[in-house]
Symmetry: C2
Subunit: 324 residues, 2 copies
């Protein structure tokens, strides 16, 4: 799967993933109003109401974020190789939110986009296996095999060690999928545990990074492994170290834009081949219509604003990264 | 919320939580057959089929694990204070699986049980806030506040540090809920990162444990904090250290039974008041009908087998723990 991602990055000259993290604070109100009207008709369908969990306000929110995400996808599909829906932002709307998540995964894939499910799952062996099946694989029911969410990549938390990761690697090999393992996250307090110095003289993020490189050896796909790493764009110094420790590991780098990282910070994330990383922007693109710079689009054309912001981000990265 | 849990443990004299981790390999086949028949009627309801994600085999599996879980709950509700549905085991069935998860959360609560949502979520600040709202809090839609999954406790992964945890603590205080933060997990490779020795002379799990105690100070509820810790029953030595480092932290201890820990291993998890920990058993109880010892119940009476196994586990713990 990583070779498909690198190919798409090459074709589009854009190592960019658009984060689909909808928040009602920036989803135009009219979408919620229209959704409320639509779901009102569900009241005549008791089974549908039961399946949605019984609260039609949540159903309206789910419908609104689905329509929001769909327009974002339509606006950027020709520009970027991938989108990254963030599970929490859908789970907060209950079942209807997760229905929206699933529909957006499928819609983005139909549009030729690669989908990184930002689910940050991870558990002990048998349970990680279920997460891997849920998000990247298949599940046996009776005599048939069935797909649940079927994203192309999933983000995974490494805190539980190898037996939490290996079931994902197995599924990556079986289904040609990929994962990005959290190594050094973009948030301010990520250093509390990730940066502590070990007796061995290295930091926790280095120990985790080395393990990621090692896990990745079991799932090579061209020059890179299907086992990637999450390294925050906000930590270029750690990224430089990690880039060396994990030469064949593709990096998913969140933190550009809203969280403060610039294109210049990002050059160390890339290899000399112009590959090796994909940079995420969520609010910087999908909430562009709320920013001064793109305010001329207005809330009604939030898709146009997102497109303009994506183009600006791509240009910014092209100017800073060699051989892109 | 932790005071409600300790009260229920006292009343039932059972520091036991039943893990609801359904796997079709031990769900009696007749449940899947009955479910297939039920969901066949959904075919006449295109909206329902769409909401379920379009695959009625997954819908049947979801219906089967809901009926399985409901019978387990009916069989143990008077014996134990809490159940712990494990999210992965429901996510693997897609939307229908998550519908089953939500229904089981609600059903268990109606039966007076406390529900620990074993979701192991965790992300950067704004996203952890969404997870906290999704699982323990409320979400604002228009002018109203709405609940998504509304478990009583959630398990949380600490790898991202304080700003991934604090949004959960805030919601715990607002809604009287609780969390259990992963500190030392029960799986064989948990030591890879959790046990590494730091330059400071302590191990990662100790650093995390101290932080859990510190986060917990902001959410005390009686003698214990709403911020608990997950410490595997399979690691009594680390538990002894952690019990001292976190005197007011309630411990959720998985790993009894199927994973190999005995009641004797568990005594160090408890304080002198006979409280301080709740021990999880999943397959040991819910798949008891597949074990030699309870085989006389047969698959048809899997609930009776689960009840017998729960009683045996409670007796076992009572014999090993002082002042229970």
């Amino acid at each position: 799967m990583i070779s498909r991602l690198t190919e798409q990055i090459r074709i589009k000259r854009a190592p960019v993933v658009v984060g689909l993290d909808p928040n009602l604070s920036f989803v135009p109100e009219v979408l919620l109003k229209d959704a409320e009207e639509k779901v009102r008709s569900y009241a005549d369908n008791p089974l549908a109401v039961e399946l949605l969990g019984g609260d039609l306000h949540l159903a309206a929110a789910g419908e609104a974020v689905w329509n929001f995400g769909r327009e974002i996808i339509d606006s950027v599909a020709d520009l970027v190789p991938a989108v990254k829906p963030q599970s929490a932002m859908y789970e907060q709307f209950g079942i209807p939110g997760i229905i929206a998540y699933q529909k957006l995964v499928r819609y983005a894939q139909q549009k030729g986009l690669i989908v990184i499910g930002d689910v940050k799952r991870g558990d002990i062996g048998s349970t990680s296996e279920a997460y891997a099946r849920a998000h990247l694989g298949r599940i046996k029911i009776g005599e048939g095999m069935h797909k649940a969410f079927d994203e192309d990549f999933a983000t995974v938390n490494p805190y539980l060690g190898s037996d939490g990761i290996e079931p994902f690697v197995k599924v990556c090999n079986e289904e040609d999928k990929g994962i990005f393992v959290l190594v050094k996250t973009s948030n301010p307090s990520s250093g509390e545990f990730q940066d502590v110095l070990l007796e061995s003289g290295e930091h926790v993020y280095e120990t985790v990074g080395k393990k990621v490189a090692q896990w990745g050896e079991a799932s090579m796909d061209g020059d890179y492994s299907n086992v990637g790493a999450v390294v925050g764009a906000t930590y270029p110094q750690q990224a430089e170290t990690l880039r060396e420790l994990m030469p064949h590991t593709f990096i998913l780098a969140p933190g550009y834009g809203a969280q403060g990282a610039s294109a210049k910070d990002l050059s160390v994330f890339f290899n000399k081949d112009g590959l090796g990383a994909i940079v995420n922007s969520s609010r910087g693109i999908i909430a562009a219509h709320t920013k001064e710079r793109y305010s001329s689009y207005g809330a009604a054309d939030f898709g146009g604003a997102a497109r303009a912001a994506a183009i600006d981000m791509i240009e910014d990265l092209r100017s800073a990264i060699t051989n892109l």
